[in-house]
Symmetry: D2
Subunit: 302 residues, 4 copies
């Protein structure tokens, strides 16, 4: 018996999202606004940010591809034409840029070990229509998640870790990501450390949940650390995966109030709530193309 098809998804007007960052200078907004106006785009949302220290400019523009009112016409370029036309502007301003055209759902790979609460939460939110994406595969070094994967009809790949040859496992994982044309990797309590090369390869495309409010309790057993320290708030951090383990650019953080009556076990239970919420929020923000890497920080347009 498998899960019901996703619910609650309202049919939406087709849109395109343009994401860019570049050295900050005058005229960027005018160039983009003119481009969109010239091609009859209806801007739905626009956000911008300047990092004054690094001299960088970030922008996200979402515009309608179809016209709701008859007669006014819509955006007059196809995806390919749009890319070709915008490339010239992007070149002028030395932009990093990306165009998400027509609401194609991102293809997501979920990595998990034995704790399944984040995975179950993500799968359930996908069912509820809160996450627009295809969960293309689940990768695990354990069998614990197989039943859940099958119920949700997501292909499950058991990739054990050969401690003598960790690179073999990573090669297998990379092959899976390539084969399934994965856009985003979500480490939903995956308890293995990746090599630097693997992290670099996934730069800006992989999110991890750290079971602590960083930089509070780095390293192992954060809930025991928190208990020993007697903190009054506990939390979790969703961040981009980088080679430097607990130092990846932070996307979302959540805390819960705790007190002296909490044990390491009940702290962990409170922490799991923060983990679910921080990771699912970060994944949603990434799927909605709202997150930019800004060196070791992020820009998140909510």
């Amino acid at each position: 018996m498998s899960a019901a098809p996703a619910r609650n998804e309202t049919p939406r007007v087709k849109t395109a999202i343009l994401l860019l960052d570049c050295p900050d200078r005058k005229g960027i907004v005018a160039a983009i606004a003119n481009f969109l106006y010239r091609h009859n785009a209806n801007i739905l949302h626009a956000d911008q940010h300047q990092d004054n220290e690094l001299g960088l400019f970030f922008m996200r523009v979402e515009f309608a591809l179809e016209e709701e009112s008859v007669g006014s016409g819509g955006f007059d370029l196809t995806e390919d034409e749009c890319r070709a036309a915008f490339a010239k502007i992007a070149d002028d301003f030395s932009m990093n840029w990306r165009l998400e055209f027509g609401n194609k759902p991102a293809r997501v790979a979920l990595f998990v070990s034995q704790y399944l609460h984040c995975l179950a939460d993500l799968l359930s939110r996908r069912e509820a229509g809160e996450l627009r994406c295809d969960f293309a595969l689940i990768v695990s070094n354990h069998e614990a998640a197989r039943a859940l994967a099958e119920f949700h009809r997501v292909p499950f790949h058991y990739v054990p870790i050969d401690r003598a040859d960790k690179q073999a496992s990573e090669r297998l994982q990379l092959d899976l990501l390539a084969e399934h044309r994965i856009d985003l990797v979500v480490l939903a309590r995956y308890m293995q450390i990746f090599s630097d090369d693997f992290c670099k390869h996934l730069r800006g495309r992989a999110v991890n949940i750290h079971h602590s409010f960083l930089p509070g309790f780095k390293g192992a057993k954060p809930y025991h650390q928190a208990h020993t320290r007697g903190v009054k708030l506990i939390g979790a951090t969703a961040h981009f995966v980088t080679a430097d383990l607990d130092e990846g650019p932070i996307i979302e953080q959540i805390v819960e109030r705790v007190d002296h009556s909490f044990t390491p076990e009940t702290l962990a239970a409170a922490g799991r709530d923060s983990e679910r919420r921080a990771l699912s929020t970060a994944v949603r923000l990434l799927l909605e193309n709202r997150v930019f890497l800004d060196e070791n920080k992020t820009v998140v347009f909510k």
Copy 2:
């Protein structure tokens, strides 16, 4: 394929929980403390509260039944002896009281209609070991939850509502509750209104999730109401079921921050998060025997 057995459940020392409320007067605490000391109980947690307006006293005491250190002996009464012995004290003080002895998991019935996010969250938390109970059955007036129920190996009962004879459905539901010896009924977005008699029968034993921060937006379509009013926070309320629909004693409330950019649809998505969290927290508090009815309010010992 079905879900894995529950994880993360730490073996715990066996305990008993005594819950009582009575007219407030001197000597209650001394009487209880002496009773427990006389029978060699080790008190683990104790909470008390006075409602000065109504002149009521509330108490929850949790004590160990076994002894961790050898030689000191443990609580020296069996469950039956304990009930018999305490009945005299309870009588002296005109107590309403309840004894939960030996961590027997409560038997819970889940009612749901078409929105499955709260149900999925509760089932997943049960898997993760966060809710100590038996989900004995799922009752629904739709078929939408059947697959989820079967995956989690919870018996599913489809009870359609005959609009011409609603009482027939309620009789069927009451038979199911009796047959399965249900301790707690959880309305996890069950969209039918019960009769007054049904509500009275379940007084203090049924919790509902209202998809609004009460008393903010009573009645239908709270997220549309919230959008029209332009609120900056949105939330949900878990409350005891009473005949007066949106006026049941409140157990838990959760809010999320929202802004002008939210549509009724994204408000609803934010609201679903509050619903999941408020309901699962309320259910956990009820299962841990931390909630008392205090007329149209609650006393919740967290």
Copy 3:
């Protein structure tokens, strides 16, 4: 003895802020971006929003008036020239618009009755450099705030309410507002009801703090209402003043967690915290020109 001069105020580059709303159509952003680019403005922040139901477009643009790097030149219009030049664009798009040029601090009138906690908080935050404005006068129907006003060197005006002729008081108050060229009126727990005419006159320029999480507990004694209802969260709402008392467009809302142990008095104390925070946040947002009226809602660019 009077308060020390304000601290913590970092010298800032001079900026202008353009605020506008108009019927939504294509080309608005391009027109504004071109105008600013043509006159060599460096855009620092830009936010926009569409109200699709009402077909309205809102925009806030902040741009630098001076140039930090030598040689590139800055914005090439004076304030008067800028107004004249932009008026043509505004006319084309039927804009409501406002230009705040050169960081001139707003002139604020504070109204208060006998509860001084919000007033004290606002005055203290002004001292700390958190609120960029001139507190030009304090108006009260009581003498309670006089000492605090004098300590902070804000002129204090005692305007008693003649119950037989309330309009006389309002005329006096309006004269004070005109005489002191007041931009913003802050009702910091001012317990008198204004006439409809007075409210209309101040439309969009007066903020009130309601000591409840609206629409939860309208009317009098919200903390007693909250206690009777047994809520688990309590809060406050800062909103624009309108003739319809508790229905003004909401700018900010804050809640605090409470439980059964709270009395109406301790609920009120918790509520005062929400009042301070909601009102001071709303005032700061207004002073930073981040708040738009959108019929009976607000658009707040944080």
Copy 4:
């Protein structure tokens, strides 16, 4: 001109508060409950906690000294008699204990340097009747707080720090604390480090506000650290003063949500809010005798 007398203070029934901690064993609660019942005390609030790792028991009992209803009589011991009678029980159980009898307000010394926002907040809350205490003196190594002190009629003592002889300053401060019979020292952004001896002398009687969510950003310039790290939440920690600077037992922590648009300056402004709230909450909890030291943690009965 000086501040108005404190408002909002409801007359309260006279109470006593008994605070104790001791090695955990059976019979403690019974002994205390019997003592109070024997002497006709009406228990108003009681809280207890076990630290199972350290084998410690903590208890706070508040009981009425007067009787509201005629004829039933009240607590039948004077303060001295109560101390003498309870000392025997305390001895039996090797208790650390303290009796606060008859709501005598604690005498508090406030230490501050140049940032006055926490001081102003505490003074204003005292005015509003939220903090039951005498602010007996303000000590500062700067003159910045003098005007505020005088307005609130709190004696101001300027104690400059002689870098060549820091101990001389500390001796002067200790003399002031002794002379004014100070119960509680509040470091409201006092930017000097005390000697180990000074800290030991004040153990359990001095609270500090650390302008960071510990253990997140220890050391100097936490808001710059937070900005560099790109955190999404920022906060403050109120903790007992210990020789180990940022490691004192935590009493209260508060966080605020921030994002990429915050500069170190606006992070600091957000942080000041957390500082005000964390410190004033911690001070209130201390004044209400709700905080116990539990080695390097705290037990806080809210």
